[in-house]
């Protein structure tokens, strides 16, 4: 059994079996991370470059840790302080790095489709660490892993994705993945942040009322309100957003059943999630971060194969 893909560009390209293989393998890597020595030699013949053309804390550290736990050699590249500011093209930058014999590329880029473009032109395995507003597949996988860990299966699980659906690559990857795994998906948020076509395109429920969404779901995956998009006047103020769509402990306590809270981070405390809800025992936000390393180890391990030494 092996993955049907050579790159991880998006959940969209994966089969249900691919997703199951990745999640099952991640479960074994999670055990590795609990050993006294949290490291295996599996990728000691592999060199990986982390190309981050866009800011990231969690994802970059998580990938780097995953690579080191697998004994791979790593190079880090961030767009600031590189020749990108001198006008070098993406393909030139990557080809130059690859000429130094790199096997895998982990890339984040603000342009949707940038990793897909690279995959067509270079021989290395490419892992998308977030491209524009398209997909963030490893986040989708670690969210799924965390839900499966808590509930045992994704089949029939009711998941509400709440917040800025329009600009969220996390939402896209989650929707693709959850639908493939047989979960029920609802998107919720202000009408200005939910694309009109989404119901038909993805066969998901749409809800504009936060309370109704929370009453329906087993899991609320709360997205970050992207402060950098504030000037686009999609909602009037953060304060107003918090009043209509912010989740507080009091709101959670008033629901008929206990639901699980997830968030891909970084949290805007007091905007989409109040501190008392984010830090409550219903939240599995820190488990998501922990699981992220295991899931990324699984992806790197599964995509590293078939390279004979010369």
């Amino acid at each position: 059994m092996r993955l049907s893909v050579k790159h991880l560009l998006g959940i969209r390209d994966l089969t249900r079996q691919d997703i199951e293989i990745i999640l099952d393998t991640a479960r074994q890597f999670k055990e590795v991370l609990q050993r006294p020595i949290r490291k295996v030699p599996s990728l000691q013949h592999i060199t990986i470059v982390n190309l981050f053309f866009e800011n990231s804390t969690r994802t970059r550290i998580s990938f780097e840790l995953a690579e080191k736990r697998l004994s791979a050699d790593t190079i880090n590249f961030t767009a600031g302080g590189s020749s990108v500011s001198k006008g070098e093209t993406l393909l030139d930058t990557v080809n130059n790095i690859l000429s130094m014999k790199v096997d895998m590329v982990v890339m984040r880029h603000s342009a949707s489709g940038a990793p897909h473009f690279l995959a067509k032109h270079i021989p290395a395995a490419i892992i998308n660490a977030g491209d524009g507003i398209n997909e963030h597949p490893t986040q989708g996988l670690l969210d799924a892993f965390s839900m499966r860990e808590k509930f045992g299966t994704l089949e029939g699980l009711k998941v509400a994705i709440i917040g800025d659906i329009m600009h969220s690559r996390v939402a896209m990857s989650n929707i693709y993945l959850l639908k493939k795994m047989g979960a029920e998906v609802m998107v919720a948020g202000p009408p200005t942040l939910i694309p009109q076509y989404i119901r038909e395109a993805f066969d998901v429920r749409v809800e504009y009322n936060l309370r109704k969404a929370l009453e329906w779901c087993d899991v609320a995956n709360v997205l970050r309100i992207q402060l950098e998009r504030q000037n686009q006047v999609l909602f009037s103020s953060l304060r107003e957003y918090n009043l209509a769509y912010g989740i507080s402990k009091r709101l959670l306590d008033s629901l008929p059943k206990e639901i699980t809270i997830m968030h891909p981070g970084p949290i805007n405390r007091g905007v989409e999630l109040d501190s008392d809800a984010a830090d409550s025992k219903q939240s599995i936000i820190l488990q998501q971060v922990e699981n992220g390393v295991a899931v990324r180890m699984a992806v790197l391990y599964l995509l590293s194969g078939g390279r004979e030494l010369n």
């Binding site: 059994m1 092996r2 293989i21 099952d24 393998t25 479960r27 074994q28 055990e31 590795v32 050993r35 006294p36 020595i37 949290r38 490291k39 295996v40 030699p41 599996s42 013949h45 391990y301 599964l302 590293s304 194969g305 078939g306 390279r307 004979e308 030494l309």
Partner: protein
């Protein structure tokens, strides 16, 4: 197809291996047993059950080790891992590793590496149900052997278990 061990012989062999392990580890208080995933587990499960009956109510710590991430042919092919479950430290312990068939020795090499992530054992011993002798590619030999057989490369040893294959039997294909 040739039968190497039938159901009765297999049961007797496992009993004997259990007694031999017990003979060498009289107190068992510093001994742990670790089965190698996936198929060594069928042997180690029975050995542990046998030993537990002999020393009850004392329990011997029992773990399961998967060696996929330590294989030396990982560059050729990516294999899917099984579960490792060693909920204790093996620091300064006497470890008895158990697998079903010893052939090239490469699995055991990987297992010895994998073990080190759980501590530095005082001693490691190897218990094998079927030893395909004269086919080693590494200097590794068993301490407890169920049965030694002579076989050629094109042959395969298959250990069948009731829970999985419907009957207990070891055959040479």
């Amino acid at each position: 197809m040739k039968t190497v061990l039938n159901e009765q012989q297999l049961a007797i062999t496992i009993k004997r291996l259990s007694h031999q392990i017990l003979e060498n580890h009289v107190n068992l208080d510093n001994t742990v047993i670790i089965g190698i995933q996936p198929r060594g587990i069928y042997v180690s499960d029975q050995v542990v059950r046998e030993i537990s009956q002999l020393i009850a109510p004392v329990q011997v710590p029992y773990g399961k080790l998967d060696i996929t991430f330590y294989r030396d042919d990982i560059r050729k092919e990516i294999l899917l891992p099984n579960h490792t479950d060693i909920p204790f430290s093996i620091e300064n312990k006497n470890v008895v590793l158990i697998d079903d068939v010893l052939y090239t020795g490469r699995t055991i090499r990987a297992a010895l590496d994998a073990l080190l992530a759980f501590g530095r054992p005082a001693k490691v011993e190897l218990c094998i149900l079927i030893d395909r002798r004269f086919s080693r590619q590494l200097p590794i030999q068993p301490d407890y052997t169920g049965k030694s057989i002579d076989s050629i490369i094109s042959q395969k040893v298959k250990v069948l278990w009731k829970q999985r294959d419907g009957k207990d039997e070891v055959v040479l294909l």
